[in-house]
Symmetry: C2
Subunit: 268 residues, 2 copies
């Protein structure tokens, strides 16, 4: 079994992540010297590696390095990047590629109490072969996030290539209608977020197609991801939503299982 290397300083200039985005990543919240959502991140990483045909380095070794990285860290964000490794001028993935990976610790970003969203012109292409996994082909998100910056907003809502509402640039979308929470599918595009996965498993959220007409009609909107938990959306362009108790309820349920998200629970 391959023993992974933690390359802190640099990747080779022949790394396929650099040339083709040929890799996967996980962005994980650190809390009290641990990664409470690690099993879910690992499951998604394994699924991505299976679909891209990348070997996952020895997990015990990765976990030991993660433990060393986050020991004594009360709060932060740990990013795990796994690339296929070096190889070849062409697209063909080398059969014997040695995966290269790294861990990088970042401070926890500021977490606003509610989000103002920009409606992004950049769409997420329909691509079932890459949907759901957290791969490194992220130019759509880079372009969409540049739009968000120009608009001076907190995040951006993205449609898929067929006009359905898909997700935010770095978070899954939750919409509240008819007394229930819903989130778009991730089989055509988007990422299967780990908090989204937990919410679905708990039966707190269901999967449904969401149109822009739906967005205008819903009584609450929220985003979720593994760094910020669940955050309410206050506005999308000219449409504003007041605080809604359904958001607070969902935040509180998440914080019961994952106390690191306690600080984002807002009173409605």
């Amino acid at each position: 079994m391959f023993i992974g290397q933690v390359r802190i300083a640099a990747f080779s200039s022949a790394n396929r992540g650099l040339h083709y985005g040929d890799g996967l990543f996980e962005t994980m919240r650190v809390h009290g010297g641990q990664l409470p959502l690690w099993p879910r991140h690992l499951a998604r990483l394994r699924e991505g590696a299976r679909r891209l045909g990348i070997d996952v380095p020895n997990v015990d070794f990765i976990e030991a390095r993660i433990a060393a990285h986050v020991a004594g860290i009360d709060t932060g964000v740990l990013k795990l990047l796994l690339t296929r490794g070096d190889g070849g001028r062409g697209y063909a993935p080398p059969v014997e590629a040695l995966p290269a990976w790294q861990l990088a610790l970042h401070p926890l970003p500021a977490i606003p109490a509610a989000l103002r969203l920009h409606m992004c012109a950049t769409r997420l292409a329909i691509q079932p072969a890459l949907a759901g996994i957290k791969h490194c082909n992220r130019l759509e998100q880079v372009l969409a996030r540049a739009e968000v910056e120009r608009a001076g907003c907190d995040e951006g809502l993205m449609l898929d290539g067929e006009g359905r509402v898909a997700s935010a640039t770095a978070a899954n979308l939750l919409v509240h209608r008819d007394g229930r929470w819903w989130t778009p599918a991730v089989e055509r595009c988007g990422v299967a977020g780990v908090v989204r996965g937990w919410l679905l498993e708990q039966g707190l959220v269901g999967v449904a197609d969401v149109s822009m007409d739906d967005i205008d009609a819903v009584d609450a909107l929220a985003l979720c991801n593994a760094v910020r938990g669940i955050l309410p959306v206050a506005a999308l362009g000219a449409r504003a939503w007041p605080a809604h108790p359904a958001v607070t309820d969902l935040q509180a349920r998440l914080a019961m299982t994952y106390p690191m998200f306690q600080d984002t629970v807002v009173s409605a």
Copy 2:
């Protein structure tokens, strides 16, 4: 004006090419110590940089480094990789990102006289925001090329997300029907190849939608790119095409302007 750096040894582990495929590249044939197609590669690089919002480093400096790289090289392939540079854990492109680029010289690959194509299951997603430019989000091509390797073929034919014939994994498609050459559009997906661009400008090829039914009916099929010029397709799965004088004619016309492609002209 930014003076580009040629980073031969390594990129920073924070390089956005590595994390998001946030970059562009050009793969260029070296001939007699020069890059005969350089002006076309540079034009595509500039267009890609404009669309992604990446600064192009000083072109005089790049050209001087290219000249130093290819001086005395009779034949080969030079790859130029331009990334947005380092920055940020998130998708937002840093306003002050300093682009990082590199040049790498590779041997000219073996060029077969005719190609056997695999019909790829992996499709090219419809994404007008990224179509045409040679960006580094290439997982679709990596997955498709892995299919080609498993099938033991030379290249692969890819459909777009809506079932039209799009291109090969690393070459544009040319189909001959009704006495004329045609190639699919690159406004929905695919790359605007430099040889394809030359053929269109010369009026030797026109743009048309191509369906799989068309493929079965055409009397000749060829692929083109900047490394191998124009090569005939001998077979796609069970469908085979005999040598056709229209391919030889097109190869000869290309070789008149770009003699480096003379060696790929086959007699029909």
